[in-house]
Amino acid sequence: MVKEECKALLDALNKVTACYRHMVLTIGGTSDSQNLREELKKTRQKAQELAVANRNKLTTVLKDKTVSKEDKAEFERLWVIFSTCLEILEIDMRRALELGHEFPLNVPKKHLIQTGMSGGTSGVAARAMSVQNMKYEAEHNIDVVDLKDLENEINQVGEMMYEMEMKVNVPQWTVEAKQDPGAELKSTISVGASSIGMISVEENKSFCDISKVLAGIVFSAVLIIAIVLAVCVVKLS
């Protein structure tokens, strides 16, 4: 029971971290906007809430002496995942702070880098916040105002990580991964064939396909000719 809850919380944190990473990638580029900054802020706050929830749950479990050995190993594994996730989150937050300072949005002299992005990140943000659509209600200078909050939150995360390290004694290297290398391939994620990111692969594929298609065409042509001949023979005879 507790395990499932912990796993669910961890999955949620993982998702939000991934979305946050996606959004930080777009700071400074052409899809940067006030909306993006607001999305960043909301995602970040959600991430922090989840982090706190995770930490509380996991610390109570790890401090519990009545847990069996396998359970304890499992919880330690979850703990390692949690702390790594938090590290990634902290790094991304720091990066966001740096980039936020470098690319303020309302300064006319500073131009955004033309990175080739044209769409927005609202989909990603909606995924992070687990809502259907994102609502934007912040002021127009959130990019500057938010930076102070961001600094404070980075400090908070840093402190949380330090506390975690001090209170819970889990040596990371003793945890063994459950998944083997290449486990991601066994997942049932369908790789969209319409993704245009696979140009070279598609070229190869299309080459093989072409030969197959040709063969198919030739075969069907032969079949049709045979049928036509048979019909002619029947008609003539």
């Binding site: 971290t17 979305c19 990638l25 777009t26 470098e102 080739g116 990603v124 975690m164 993704s195 696979m198």
Partner: protein, 484 residues
Amino acid sequence: MTVTRLDQGQRYRPRMAFLKKIEALMMEMQNPDTGIKTQTQTVMIANIPHAVTGNDILQWILQRLQITAEEALHLGDLFVKYGYIYPLQEPKNLTLKADGSLYRFQTPYFWPVQSWAADDTDYAIYLAKKNIKRKGILEEYEKEHYNMLNQKINYKWDFVIMQAKEQYKAGKERKKEDRYALDCQERAYWLVNRTPPGMQDVLEYGVDRVTDPNENKIMYYQQAIVKTRVKSSVSLGGLVKYSEQFLSNDPILSGCLPSNPWITDDPEFWDLNAKLVEVPTRMRVERWAFNFNELIRDPKGRQNFQLFLKKEFSGENLSFWEACEDLKYGDQSKVKEKAEEIYKLFLAPGARRWINIDGTTMGITVKGLKHPHRYVLDAAQTHIYMLMKKDSYGRYLKSPIYKEMLAKAIVPQETVKKRQVKLAVIVGTGLFGRRHLRSSPSPIILRQQEEEAKAREAATTVDITQVMSKLDRRNQPQKEPPPK
């Protein structure tokens, strides 16, 4: 918590200061009026904006920085190599071509940063994502890295897989064109930070990448932390104590008796305090009681101490100490002979004036005497010094010899006041011409006198072995009768 390893590469190199300059140029390039004109890149069915040709970049650099074409080409090439601009048509070829080949600007997140290097965990996540996208088709070197990382950060592997899946899913929420651009960006970033074999790694600095120029500083500070320190309260306390003790002896602060020769032109003070004067002043004798060093540095004190030591049959200690001092500060051309004499007289087993030092020190000294030099007897000298200080000195201060000297010591009278002296001098010079100033004896003569005194003393010293042998001979006949 990940242990962040000490990054000995980029972090310390001041060369990285150029990154900020490139960033400034990058931002200028984006200016819609004065920057570079962008085109749209057509990939399959999608149009992705913001592509620039190599030639455009080159022309812009030439015009903006006013440098030669060769330099501009090199600079543009560096932009590409460091990952600020990436090529679209030949992703692996990170060079700037001055023709129509297309490039695009890298997103600021992926710009090279001095403060942190590309993380292994991130690279693992990227490889896992690529694995998902390409269904297991990775390049050879990427496969190697993948396996190596799997072993290296195995404890994080679950997280890597989870995060890769999530990032992949989150990416799907974006437009197709954006997804494509993102892929290109990421690929370019990792080509710069984890170069495939055969490609030049710009972030490497060659052999001296491994050494840290701050190494010496680090070592120095580490040693400085470990150094034993004396509290300033303690050292200042020592200084205060010393000052208080010697205050009365200081001629400037407490005046000197009979009078300060520099002021009154009266050398009586120097006469009374001559090295081996008959009767020393009281201040001087009292000074011997402050510490052992005062006693032993004063020739008169040494003389007196020697008298005392003779009574205790340990006179050879002080003689040995004096001989060592002579070796240290004396004529260096005679070092070998002096050392040999000292050995014969004091150190050899059965020597006439054998000194009592422990086995290890004797061993070291004898060994060192094979190649004698100024400080060869230092260990033995220190041992004897400490012996005298801890043992004989205490008794000396309580002995009748010292007390006698203290009683005999004179307290010179303060001479006439300055004004009267001046008058006398004026009168004297006026009446009798120039006052005859007697010069003190020449140092050469003084030294000769000292050496004669030493020789006399050496001849008359009684040494312990002779005494003990005499005592034995005296005892033996007495012992014989009883057994009979």
